[in-house]
C-alpha cells in the first residue's frame, strides 16, 4: 500500500466519502468519466480507487450493468449488526485486558471531547464516536480485528446517514462511553464487553425502527 500513487489515494478517499454519506446513493450507477470530471481528477486514479472500493464492499462491478454503488437493505442491516455486536464486544473485552496507559489517555481525551460537543451536532458526534471505536479497536492490539471492524464501520456508516434525518444522536451513548472508559481503566473485561454490546445494539435497534417505518410508509 505504501507505493500507492497519491492521486489514487485521494480519489479513493473522496469517492468513499461520497458513498458513505450517500451523495452516491445505494444502487446508483457510476459513470467513471463523470465521476472523474466531478472530482477534477484523471480517469486512471478513479479507476484504481473504484477497484479498491470493490474490495471494501462499497462498489460492485458487474458485466451487465457496469459499475454500481452496493445496495443496502434490512437483511443487510441484520447481518451487519450481528457481526458488529460480536466483534465490537470482543474489541472492548481485549482493550480492557491490553490497553496501554497512553491508550487510556486517548480514550479519556475522546470522551471529554464528546462531552464538550453539543449533543445536537450529530455529524461531529458521529465522527468522535467513530474515533472512539477505532481507538478501542487499536487498544485491543489485534490488527485483524481492527481491519474487520473498520470495514464493517464503513458499511454501517451509510445506514447512519440513511437514518440521520429521523435520528437525534443517542444521548445515552455519551454515558455509555463514560462507563466504557471506566471499565477499561479498571481492567474489567466482562463489563467493558457488556457495555459495548449494549451500545451497539441500541444503535442498530434505532436504525431498524426508522428504516422499517420508512419502508411501510413507502
Amino acid at each position: 500500500m505504501e507505493l500507492e500513487r497519491i492521486d489514487t489515494k485521494r480519489a479513493y478517499d473522496l469517492i468513499r466519502e461520497r458513498i458513505t454519506t450517500l451523495q452516491l446513493a445505494p444502487g446508483a450507477v457510476i459513470d467513471e468519466q463523470e465521476l472523474a470530471a466531478s472530482l477534477d481528477m484523471g480517469l486512471a486514479p478513479v479507476r484504481e480507487a473504484l477497484k479498491l472500493l470493490v474490495h471494501d464492499g462499497l462498489v460492485l462491478i458487474t458485466p451487465r450493468h457496469g459499475i454500481l454503488v452496493s445496495d443496502l437493505n434490512i437483511p443487510d442491516l441484520d447481518q451487519l449488526s450481528e457481526m458488529r455486536l460480536a466483534l465490537e464486544g470482543l474489541s472492548a473485552r481485549l482493550a480492557a485486558q491490553r490497553a496501554t496507559a497512553d491508550e487510556v489517555v486517548i480514550l479519556e481525551a475522546l470522551r471529554r471531547e464528546q462531552a464538550q460537543t453539543p449533543a445536537d451536532d450529530s455529524h461531529r458526534q458521529f465522527a468522535i464516536d467513530h474515533k472512539f471505536h477505532e481507538a478501542i479497536a487499536r487498544a485491543a492490539h489485534n490488527k485483524y480485528l481492527a481491519e474487520s471492524l473498520e470495514r464493517l464501520f464503513g458499511l454501517s456508516q451509510r445506514l447512519w446517514y440513511l437514518a440521520l434525518p429521523h435520528l437525534g444522536f443517542l444521548p445515552t451513548a455519551v454515558e455509555k462511553h463514560v462507563d466504557l472508559v471506566e471499565a477499561i481503566q479498571a481492567r474489567d473485561a466482562e463489563r467493558a464487553e457488556a457495555i459495548m454490546r449494549e451500545h451497539v445494539a441500541e444503535f442498530y435497534d434505532q436504525v431498524r425502527q426508522i428504516l422499517a417505518k420508512e419502508e411501510s410508509s413507502d
Binding site: 507505493l3 497519491i6 492521486d7 477534477d40 486512471a44 497512553d102 486517548i106 481525551a109 471529554r112 464538550q116
Partner: protein, 671 residues
C-alpha cells in the same frame, strides 16, 4: 528519428519565477528533441505546467519513461506566506530560552505550544510526556489549523515521545502530522522544529501540485513515473516528495546547475543561471552541486534541509530599467513585462509610444513608459475586494494604459495611492516597462517582438536625461555585469562586500580598500597598480539572456564562458539529469548510567528502531551494514537503477557518531 534503436525518452519540466520550461530528451544520447516555454502562473503553477506538456511536441507519449519536475513552489509559498496554517507542538523545549534568544520568531508559525517531555543528550527521558495536555490542546485547536508539526527535544537520538504523540493525535483527529525526527537527524532543536513546521505548511501545496501534474500527464497519455527534484539536485519519487515538501526548497537553481553540467559535460564549473526575474549562482565540484551542510535558509527561516549552496540576486532579462531619485539608472529588482512584448501584443501601445516620442521634453517623462494591463479578466467584478480595484479592472479592459494616464483617470497623484496589491499578486493586472530584453531588441540580438517600440521608448528614456542612447545602453550592460561579478565574488569568498559609489571610490573620497580593489580590478583605473580577480573554473551560462549578460562577466574574471547547446532550457534538462539519491543516517551514542559516569554500552538509533550493543565496534559495524541495506532498498524503491552505496562515518564528539549511507543511481527507465 531512427526507429530501429530503442530510445528512452524523458520529459523534464522546470517552473521558474517567470517561465515554465519543458524539454523532451533522449536520455542516453543527451539529445534534446523538443522544448517549450510558457509563462509561469504563480497563482496556480499547474496551469503553466499543463501548457508546457500540451505545447511540447511529443510523437509517441508511450515512449516516455520518466517525467521529472523542479519547482519553486515551496520556496515561493514560504516567501509569500501561502503555506497552510500549522500548529507546532514543542516537547521538552524551554520557552524562556527560546524567547530570551528571540528564537520564537524563527519557528515559521505563530501557533506554537510547549509541553513537558523530551530526552537528553544521551537519549534518556528528561521528563515524562504530558500526553493528556497535548490531546486537550489538539481538541481545542484542530478546527483552526490545517496540519500539526511535532518536535521533541533530542528526538533524533530517541524519537519515543514524538512517536507516542503521533499515535495519540492520529487517534483523535485526521489532520496531517509531521514528526521532526523523520525530517532531520541533526540535533539543532530550533532548526528541526522550523523544518517540521514548514514541511507541515507545505504538505497540501505540494500534494495538489503533484496531482495536477499527474492529471496533465494523463491528458497527454503519458504513463510514466513522476519524479521531483530536491534542493540538492537529486531526484525523489512523487510519493516521497508529497511527504517531504521541504526538500524541494531551492530545487529550481539546483536543477539548473545539474543541467549545465549535463549539457557541457564539465565536472568543475561555476554555474550562472540568468532567468527572467533572478540570476542564480551555484558551484559544481567533482560533478556534484555543492550543498550547504548547515541547512538552507528561506525567507529568514533557518532549516535543517540540505540544499544547494547558492546565491540569488534580483537581476534578469525582464528586470525593470528605471530612474532613481537622483536620476541614477536602476536595474531591477522588480520584474516587468518588456515593452517590446506589450507593443507586439497591443498595437495601440506602439502608436502611443510613437506619439510620446514626438512630445516635448517636459511632457515625455519616463513614468509614461510604465504600463499596466489586464493579464486575465476576473469574470465577476463583484468578487474584487474594493471599488478601486473594480474601477481599475474596468478601465484596463480597453487595453493597456500608461501609469500617468491611469492616475489621471483615478484622480490620484502617485502610484502608491492606488493600493491594489492583490491585483498584482493574483496576476490579474500586470506591469510592463523598459527591460534589458528591450535593449536586446534594439541591438538586434533578440528579435521576436516589436523592436521599434523598444527603440522609441529608449529614445524617450535617454532624451529625458539629455544623454546619448548608445552610451546609456552601454552603462546598463556595465551595471548588470558589475552586479553579477560582485555576486560571484561574494558567493565564492563567502563574505559580504558592500558596494558604494564607484566614482567616489576611485577618486579616493571613499577610503575602503576592499571596494577600491574590486573597482580597480574591474575597470583598471590606477596608473601603477594593476589588480585583477581571476576565476579558476569556467562559467557555464544558463538561460536565454546568458549569452548577452555573461561575456563581459567572464572577461572581467579572466575565465572562459561556456554556453552549451540548449543552455536556454538547461534548467529543464537538469530536472531529468539528476541522479536518484537516498540518504540514510544512523546515530550511535553511549548508554549512560543515571549518574552519567558509567557507560553501559551503545545505542544504534535507526529512525524509529533502536539496537543495543555492549561494544562500540559492534555498534558501528551494525550501523554500517544496516544503513547500507536501508539506503540501497530505499533507492531501489525510489526508482534508481543499480544504485551505488557509500558509507561515511562522522563524529559529533561526546562519544556520539553518525553513520551516513548514500545510495546514488541513475533513474531506472526500463519498464
Amino acid at each position: 528519428m531512427d526507429t530501429n534503436t530503442v530510445t528512452n525518452l524523458v520529459l523534464g519540466i522546470d517552473t521558474g519565477g517567470t517561465y515554465t520550461d519543458g524539454v523532451l530528451l533522449e536520455y542516453e544520447s543527451r539529445r534534446v528533441l523538443a522544448n517549450h516555454k510558457s509563462l509561469t502562473t504563480k497563482r496556480d503553477f499547474a496551469i503553466g505546467i499543463e501548457e508546457v506538456i500540451e505545447g511540447i511536441h511529443i510523437e509517441d507519449p508511450s515512449a516516455i519513461r520518466m517525467v521529472s519536475v523542479s519547482t519553486t513552489l515551496a520556496t515561493n509559498a514560504i516567501a509569500e506566506g501561502k503555506g497552510k496554517r500549522v500548529a507546532l507542538f514543542l516537547i521538552g523545549y524551554d520557552p524562556d530560552l527560546l524567547s530570551r534568544f528571540q528564537l520564537d520568531g524563527r519557528l515559521a508559525t505563530p501557533n506554537f505550544y510547549f509541553f513537558d517531555g523530551g530526552h537528553d543528550l544521551y537519549g534518556r527521558e528528561k521528563k515524562p510526556l504530558d500526553l493528556p495536555g497535548i490531546l486537550a490542546k489538539v481538541v481545542e485547536i484542530k478546527d483552526k489549523v490545517d496540519a500539526i508539526a511535532i518536535s521533541a527535544y533530542f528526538s533524533p537520538l530517541n524519537p519515543e515521545h514524538e512517536n507516542r504523540v503521533y499515535k495519540a493525535i492520529s487517534s483523535v483527529c485526521d489532520l496531517p502530522l509531521v514528526l521532526g525526527h523523520q525530517l532531520s537527524t541533526k540535533l539543532g532543536s530550533v532548526e528541526r522544529a522550523t523544518t517540521a513546521a514548514l514541511n507541515a505548511s507545505l504538505l497540501a501545496v505540494l500534494h495538489d501540485f503533484i496531482i495536477a501534474v499527474r492529471r496533465a500527464m494523463e491528458k497527454r497519455q503519458i504513463d510514466a513515473p513522476l519524479m521531483v527534484v530536491r534542493g540538492d539536485g537529486t531526484l525523489m519519487s512523487d510519493e516521497f516528495a508529497a511527504r517531504t515538501p521541504v526538500e524541494t526548497i531551492h530545487s529550481g537553481p539546483a536543477a539548473s546547475a545539474i543541467g549545465g553540467r549535463f549539457l557541457s559535460r564539465r565536472d568543475d564549473a561555476l554555474i550562472v543561471d540568468v532567468g527572467g526575474t533572478t540570476t542564480d549562482i551555484a558551484l559544481i565540484v567533482d560533478g556534484q552541486v555543492t550543498v550547504s551542510e548547515e541547512g538552507a535558509t528561506v525567507s529568514n527561516y533557518k532549516t535543517s534541509v540540505k540544499a544547494a549552496n547558492l546565491l540569488s540576486i534580483a537581476l534578469g532579462g525582464d528586470s525593470h530599467i528605471s530612474l532613481g531619485h537622483d536620476n541614477e539608472i536602476l536595474l531591477g529588482p522588480e520584474r516587468v513585462t518588456p515593452l517590446a512584448y506589450l507593443a507586439w501584443s497591443y498595437p495601440q501601445v506602439h502608436r502611443q509610444l510613437k506619439a510620446l516620442a514626438l512630445r516635448s521634453w517636459s511632457q515625455a517623462t519616463p513614468d509614461w513608459l510604465e504600463y499596466w494591463f489586464l493579464l486575465r479578466d476576473p469574470a465577476d467584478l463583484g468578487a474584487l475586494h474594493s471599488t478601486r480595484e473594480q474601477v481599475l479592472v474596468a478601465l484596463l479592459r480597453d487595453g493597456p494604459r500608461a501609469v500617468p494616464d491611469i492616475l489621471k483617470e483615478l484622480k490620484l497623484l502617485h502610484t502608491a495611492q492606488v493600493g491594489v496589491p492583490d491585483l498584482f499578486r493574483q496576476e490579474i493586472v500586470g506591469r510592463a516597462g523598459l527591460t534589458s530584453t528591450d535593449l536586446m531588441h534594439i541591438e538586434g540580438r533578440y528579435d521576436v517582438w516589436d523592436a521599434e517600440a523598444s527603440a522609441l521608448a529608449w529614445k524617450v528614456f535617454c532624451q529625458f536625461q539629455f544623454r546619448d542612447p548608445d552610451e546609456v545602453r552601454q552603462e546598463v550592460w556595465t551595471h548588470a555585469s558589475e552586479m553579477i561579478v560582485h555576486t560571484i565574488l561574494t558567493f565564492l569568498a563567502e563574505r559580504p562586500l558592500q558596494l558604494g559609489d564607484r566614482q567616489r571610490c576611485l577618486d579616493g573620497v571613499d577610503s575602503d580598500m576592499a571596494r577600491w580593489f574590486f573597482y580597480n580590478s574591474l575597470y583598471r583605473v590606477h596608473p601603477h597598480l594593476d589588480t585583477s580577480i581571476r576565476l579558476t573554473q569556467p562559467i557555464i551560462g544558463i538561460g536565454a539572456p546568458a549569452g548577452i549578460f555573461l561575456p563581459p562577466v567572464a572577461e572581467a574574471l579572466h575565465t572562459e564562458l561556456l554556453l552549451p547547446e540548449h543552455h536556454q532550457v538547461a534548467n529543464a534538462v537538469g530536472a531529468i539529469a539528476g541522479s536518484v539519491m537516498v540518504e540514510e543516517e544512523l546515530l550511535i551514542y553511549p548508554q549512560l548510567s543515571h549518574s552519567g559516569l558509567e557507560v553501559f554500552g551503545y545505542y544504534v538509533q535507526a529512525h524509529d528502531e533502536r539496537f543495543e550493543f555492549e561494544e562500540l565496534a559492534d555498534a558501528l559495524a551494525h550501523a554500517r551494514s544496516l544503513s547500507q541495506q536501508r539506503a540501497l532498498g530505499a533507492a531501489l524503491r525510489s526508482g534508481a537503477s543499480n544504485p551505488q552505496v557509500t558509507v561515511e562515518e562522522l563524529t559529533d564528539g561526546l562519544d556520539t557518531y553518525r553513520i551516513r549511507a548514500k545510495a546514488i543511481g541513475n533513474p531506472r527507465l526500463t519498464r
